[in-house]
Homo-oligomer: 420 residues x 2
C-alpha cells in the first residue's frame, strides 16, 4: 500500500473515536468568551500526539497596535488560542492548518429540532451549533494529524495546526497568532466550502455614510432639503461604483458569480419626526474587496468616488457626504490557482473522491485574508459542510465529508511537506 | 367718537396693565401638564369682567370615544380648560375666540439670550416661551373683551372665549370644549399669523409605511431584495401622489405656495447589520390635507395609491406596503373668503392699520380645523406674532401688534355680534 492508501485505511478504521471527539467539541458550547474548555480539549488532543503545544490568551496590547485589529473586546481571558507544531526534520516546506473554535450564538432554541449543543447524529448528519462552522473542518485537520503521527510518517516541513478564537468577531485570534510569529509557506483553512476549493476570497470593510440635508417643517417642506432624498442619490452613486469595480474583474473564477465584490447598504436611519424634513441620514454598509486589492486602496477609491457627488448635485459641494470606516473588516486573500498547494489539493481530491473538484472564488471572507496579507502565508479554503447551514438553526454536517476532507488534507500535507 | 374709536382709545390707555398681565402669563411656564396656574389667572381675569366662567379638567373618557382624539396622555389633571361666556342680549350671531395656553418646552436655556420665562421687554419686544405661540394672541382677545365690557358695550350675540390646553399635542383641549357643547356661528383664533388673515388651513395626518425586502448576506446581496432599494421606489411613488393631489388645488389663495399640501417623509429606519441585505424599512411621514378634504378621504386615497405600486414593480404584488395611521393628526379647516366675518375682519384691519391685509392659506394647522370640521364653527386664523420664532429659542413678540390685533378683533366682534 502507498502512504496515502495507509492514511485512508487508518482514517476509516478510526472513525468512531473522532466522531466522539467532534461531538465533545460541539457539546462544549464555545460562543465568544466561552472557548476555554473546548481549547483545553484541543490542546490535550495535540499533546497526546506529542506536538509542541502553545496555549496563550490573546495579547490585547499587541493587537490594538495593528491597523487590522477589530474586536468588540479588549481583554481575552478565557479565550485562549492553541497552536500545535509538528516539527519537520528540515528542508521541507511548512504549512499552517487553521480553524476557529468560536461559534455564533445558537439563537432561539425553539427553532432547533435537536438541542443546539447536542452533537446528535441522525441519518449520517451531526447536528449542533458550530458543527459546520467549523468544528467539523477542525476535526478533519486533527484526524489528518493523528493519521500522520500514528502511522509514523516523518515529514521534512513543519505542520502548524492553529485552533483560534474570534474568527466570527473580526479575526483577532488569527491576527495574534501571526503577530506572535506563526507563519508558513502556505495554509489550508477548512471552512465549510461544501468540498469546493476556494483559492480566492473577497474581503470586506464596513462604512458609514453621513448624508446631510436641511430641516424644515413638513407643511412647508419646500423650504428644506430632505436628507432622505439625498441619501437615495448617494445610494445610486455608490451602486455605480459597485458596477465600475466589478466590471474590472475578469478572473474566470468569478464567471458564475453575478457580482464578485458587492457593495451592500445594510441599514439606513435618519430623521426623527414625521412632520419635519430630515436633516441627517446615516447609511451603513459593506464594500467587497477583491482578492488582489488591499483595504487601503478600496477605501481611497470609495472616498474619491464620493467626492464626485458634487458634480451630480450641487448640494454635495457644500454638504459633502462624510465617510467613516468603522467596525469589522475582513481582509481579502488569494493563492495562485497554479500554486503547487492547489495542484496537490486538486490531485488528492480526485484521488479520494474520484472526480474533479469545483474551484470557485469564495463569496465571503475567512481568516485566510489575514494569513495572506498580514502573515504572508498564501491560503486556500477547503472543507466539509455547507455554508447555508452555518449561523442558522439546525446547523448540521454530513459526517462522511469530514473523513473525506481529512484524507484529502492529509495527502496534501504529505505532498507539500514531503516525506523524509 | 364712534364705538370703535372709543375701543381704540380705551386700549391705548390701558396698555401697561395688559402688558403686565401677559408678562405674568409668560412667567407661568405652562408646558404640557403645567397649565393649571396660568389657567387660574385667566379664569380670574374673566371673572373680574363678570363673564360666566367654566373651568374643567378634560374628560378622558369622553375624548377617547372620538375618532379625532389624539394625545400622549389619558388623564388631564392639572390641565384644565377655561371658558368665559359674555352672554349677548339675544338675536345676534355668536362667536368663539379660541387660544391655547400650552407652550412647547423651552429647550436648552443656553440658547436663550433672555430667560425663557422672563417676559422681559427689550426694544418693544417681549421675550419668552409661548409669548408668540400664543399668549400674545390670547392677550389680544382678553384686551378686546375687557374693552367691550369696560366701555359698557352690550352685544346681541354671545362671545365665547376659550382658553384651551393641549393644542401643541393634538388638540384635545379644543376637542373637549366642542364635545362639552361649545359651538358658535364663527370663530377667530389669534395664532401668530404675523397679522395676515388665514381663512384656510391645511390639515395633516401621520403615516407609517412598512416596506419589506428579503434578507441575504451582503457578500451575496444578489440573493436578497433590499428593502432600502424598495423604499426608494415607495418614496418616489408617494411623491407622485403629492403632485397629483396638489395639481388639483386651483384656489388662488395657494398661488404663491409652491406645494399647498405637501407630503413629507420625515424619517426612515431599516436594516440592522452593514453586511446584511435589509428586509424591512419603515418610513414615517405626514400627508397634508386640503382645507376642503376630510382625513378619511385622504387616507383612502393614499391607501389606494399604494396598491398601484404592484403595477410598477412586481415585488409589491406579493409584498404590499403596509400603511399604519398613527400618532398625531391636524384637522384641516376653512371659512369662505366671502364669509361676513372675513369681510368684517378685512375692513377693521384697514381701519386700524390703514392698509389692506394679506390674505393667505395657512401652511400649518390649528385647532380651527376641529372647530370647523367637528364643531361646525367656521374659523379664521389671525393674530400677532411671527411663526418663525415659535418653538425656537428667543421667541419674542412685537408688543405693538398685540394691541393692533386687539383693536381689530374687538371691532370685528362688535360688527359680528352687533350692538343691542
Amino acid at each position: 500500500m502507498t502512504v496515502k492508501e495507509n492514511i485512508n485505511q487508518w482514517i476509516d478504521e478510526n472513525r468512531q473515536a473522532h466522531l466522539a471527539f467532534l461531538q465533545k467539541l460541539v457539546q462544549l458550547a464555545s460562543t465568544q468568551g466561552n472557548e476555554k474548555e473546548v481549547q483545553e480539549n484541543v490542546a490535550r488532543f495535540l499533546k497526546d500526539l506529542d506536538l509542541e503545544v502553545d496555549v496563550w490568551n490573546l495579547d490585547g496590547e499587541r493587537l490594538k497596535k495593528h491597523p487590522y485589529f477589530y474586536s468588540n473586546r479588549e481583554t481575552f481571558e478565557s479565550s485562549p488560542n492553541v497552536v500545535g507544531v509538528l516539527k519537520g526534520t528540515g528542508g521541507g516546506k511548512s504549512i499552517i492548518l487553521n480553524g476557529h473554535v468560536d461559534v455564533v450564538p445558537e439563537g432561539d432554541h425553539e427553532q432547533w429540532d435537536k438541542g443546539p449543543y447536542s452533537g446528535e447524529i441522525v441519518d449520517g448528519k451531526m447536528y449542533g451549533r458550530g458543527v459546520t462552522d467549523m468544528k467539523g473542518g477542525n476535526t478533519s485537520l486533527m484526524i489528518a494529524l493523528n493519521a500522520i503521527k500514528s502511522l509514523g510518517i516523518r515529514l521534512k516541513g513543519d505542520v502548524i495546526f492553529q485552533s483560534v478564537v474570534e474568527e466570527e468577531s473580526g479575526g483577532a485570534g488569527t491576527l495574534d497568532a501571526i503577530l506572535k510569529g506563526y507563519k508558513a509557506d502556505a495554509a489550508i483553512i477548512p471552512e465549510p466550502t461544501n468540498m469546493k476549493i476556494f483559492p480566492k476570497q473577497q474581503g470586506s470593510k464596513w462604512f458609514r455614510l453621513i448624508v446631510t440635508g436641511r430641516t424644515a417643517h413638513g407643511g412647508t417642506r419646500y423650504h428644506g432639503v430632505s436628507a432622505i432624498d439625498k441619501s437615495f442619490i448617494v445610494t445610486q452613486h455608490v451602486m455605480e461604483l459597485e458596477k465600475i469595480r466589478n466590471d474590472r474583474i475578469t478572473d474566470p473564477l468569478y464567471d458564475k458569480i453575478p457580482i464578485p465584490v458587492p457593495i451592500n447598504i445594510g441599514s439606513i436611519n435618519g430623521g426623527d419626526w414625521p412632520s419635519s424634513v430630515p436633516d441627517i441620514v446615516e447609511l451603513e454598509g459593506r464594500i467587497g474587496i477583491a482578492p488582489n486589492e488591499t483595504m487601503e486602496e478600496v477605501q481611497a477609491e470609495m472616498e474619491q468616488w464620493l467626492e464626485k457627488l458634487a458634480e451630480k448635485d450641487g448640494w454635495f459641494k457644500d454638504h459633502p457626504v462624510e465617510v467613516e470606516w468603522f467596525g469589522a473588516r475582513w481582509v481579502p486573500g488569494e493563492i495562485e490557482t497554479t500554486h503547487p498547494l492547489m495542484s496537490s489539493l486538486i490531485d488528492n481530491f480526485k484521488g479520494v473522491v474520484g472526480e474533479d473538484p469545483v474551484i470557485e472564488a469564495a463569496p465571503w471572507g475567512t481568516d485566510g485574508g489575514l494569513l495572506s496579507q498580514v502573515g504572508g502565508t498564501p491560503s486556500v479554503v477547503f472543507g466539509p459542510g455547507i455554508t447555508s447551514l452555518a449561523h442558522f438553526p439546525n446547523e448540521a454536517i454530513e459526517v462522511e465529508k469530514i473523513f473525506e476532507a481529512a484524507k484529502i488534507i492529509a495527502a496534501t500535507i504529505v505532498d507539500w511537506c514531503e516525506i523524509e
